[in-house]
């Protein structure tokens, strides 16, 4: 499949990539909690809570959530008329939320 590098298609592609990564992280998080309950998998939990991993996770998560909100506005509201502008509004909100979250880490 070929992608055109326009705002909407690029936002959608990043949505998929971040979604896949966050999805794998959360499945591993469930697995890690299972290990905590029944013993074992310390290495997995150490990996999931390692600072670089958490820093990347939060970036991906915030992107995926905010672009998801943008998609909702496009699908259920009149966001299709201004979806590109909306993308950049979401990115600004995302950076603010990201910085605030990293400060609280």
């Amino acid at each position: 499949m070929r992608y055109r590098w326009q705002t909407g298609a690029t936002a959608w592609l990043i949505h998929r990539i971040t979604g896949a990564a966050v999805g794998i992280y959360l499945l591993l998080h469930i697995l890690g909690q299972f290990g905590m309950k029944y013993g074992g998998l310390e290495g997995l939990r150490d990996f999931l809570t390692a600072k670089p991993v958490v820093i990347i996770l939060l970036a991906f998560l915030i992107y995926h959530a905010l672009n998801g909100v943008r998609e909702l506005i496009v699908d259920f509201g009149n966001g299709a008329l201004y979806h590109k502008k909306l993308f950049w509004v979401m990115m600004v909100i995302g950076v603010v939320v990201y910085v605030a979250t990293l400060t609280a880490l």
């Binding site: 979604g19 999805g23 697995l31 998801g68 259920f76």
Partner: protein, 109 residues
């Protein structure tokens, strides 16, 4: 706006991917606030937190695996690989449903 659903055209999944996404976003903020960024520890073994987290697991599994399913639909052309990956989706869903259940239900007891 009215949403017509019929079997097999994916419109229920389209809608529920959005509904589950909204619910996950709300639950995630509460989860992060209470468990990971909370100033005071919460009792995760209490029945209400168990129900909360089990609902979280179920919604996440749906949302993650539906996302995966859609990617298989879009990218995988070879028939047998496609069928195998659909099967894998179900296996992962069932396994993690059980993992989540046995982790959460006896949690704290």
């Amino acid at each position: 706006m009215a949403y017509q659903t019929s079997n097999g055209n994916g419109s229920f999944h389209w809608l529920f991917q959005r509904i589950s996404g909204i619910l996950i976003a709300i639950i995630l903020v509460i989860h992060l606030g209470a468990v990971h960024f909370g100033a005071s520890p919460v009792d995760l073994g209490s029945p209400s937190w168990k129900v909360f987290h089990f609902a979280f697991v179920v919604l996440l599994l749906y949302h993650i695996l539906m996302g995966f399913w859609l990617m298989v639909e879009d990218y995988v052309r070879t028939h047998w690989i496609r069928i195998s990956l659909y099967g894998l989706t179900w296996v992962v869903g069932l396994v993690f449903f059980i993992l989540g259940f046995v982790t959460l239900v006896p949690f704290g007891t």
